[in-house]
Assembly symmetry: C2
Homo-oligomer: 217 residues x 2
């Protein structure tokens, strides 16, 4: 399918690259077309990869990934244009990590709301699904790189949109039983507030290539 | 050893009960001595169990568990008395869940600080270790009730205090390799901010008797 990927950072490149590899057509969007990161990615990803503005990418995609930093996601989606997002599944992968006061970062948006909820509120015609934000980019698109029955979360208010995302996650390599539904888009509060512990664990474990598995009685 | 347990809720009773079972002497502390919950617990727990005020319990213990709700922890430890906590390991098990605006609860203290940090700041002579707050009371004191290599976190600024807590966790049934150190007491931010996702997962999994395992590449 045609997919827009907003953001040219590590996450955008990993997701965009995987999608191209899977045979999708991808337009990577950034603030202005022809930027260095996006053009380098297009050259590397090869046939099926294109780039343009946030608006170009959102207009191109039948589905859109938000891979911009959470602090800038509302602005980026504003530049993408509400009309280019209307009716489309928007997979929000972002976290609002704020490093402006040093380390550890805080979350710019949390507790009483979340980036996922704010995006859904600002773009009510988009079908926002929060997913993949709880792990390193490498694990998102290659879950087999980490052993064990570790999980990925999805949440969103539109059940059909969540099904579309489950299907894409399946293409990424996530077995259905390891895709854990945490309800409506309000569930993004929990998955985003996981980030501080994720960062601490990256330090304790000495690697970003980890994830969590759920075990129950 | 002699242990003070502040708080008469589900967590205080579970931890107090386990400690008595293990042969420790426990004084359960609450706002006023002779309260219904504490006296019922003493009757149930049997020999080795006593109760009194927060101050009685903290004075009695060579080590103190804070099992009061996070929103009231500072006040409870204030009533316990800085002089009764000085030099002692204080295991903070609390979370600042605030249900006053309905569900889902928010955290009264988070992001730029944590209950663990606030307690350490307010009682600089106490040796605060945050632990056990990331799971249900039943799992805290009986990790074998949940299958798999699930984990418990510890953090705190005093390494020797963390060692004492590791030892008690071992008595509870936690193997050393499943006790994950997330650094200084600042690590409490992450373990406390895990709670919103924990609550969502309790809903998704249909049980509170669950925990997380860590897997890495």
């Amino acid at each position: 399918m045609r997919i827009g990927v907003l953001g040219t950072g590590v996450v955008g490149k990993a997701i965009g690259g995987k999608l191209v590899e899977l045979g999708h057509e991808v337009c990577m969007g950034s603030r202005s077309a022809g930027g260095e990161a996006a053009t380098a990615w297009v050259a590397e990803a090869g046939a099926g990869a294109n780039e343009g503005t946030f608006s170009d990418a959102a207009g191109f995609g039948e589905l859109v990934f938000n891979c911009t930093p959470g602090m800038h996601a509302l602005a980026a989606l504003g530049q993408a244009g509400a009309e280019n997002l209307a009716g489309k599944v928007v997979v929000d992968v972002s976290n609002s990590l704020d490093f402006s006061q040093g380390r550890p970062p805080t979350l710019a948006i949390c507790n009483t709301t979340s980036v996922g909820e704010e995006l859904q509120k600002a773009f009510p015609d988009a079908r926002v699904v929060k997913s993949l934000n709880t792990m390193n980019a490498g694990v998102m698109v290659d879950p087999g790189a980490v052993p064990g029955d570790h999980v990925v979360f999805v949440c969103g208010d539109d059940e059909a949109a969540k099904d579309e995302v489950r299907s894409l996650l399946g293409e990424f390599g996530w077995p259905a039983e390891r895709i854990v539904d945490v309800g409506g888009i309000i569930g993004a509060r929990g998955t985003e507030m996981w980030l501080p512990l994720w960062l601490e664990l990256m330090g304790s474990l000495g690697t970003a290539q980890f994830n969590i598995a759920l075990v129950k009685a």
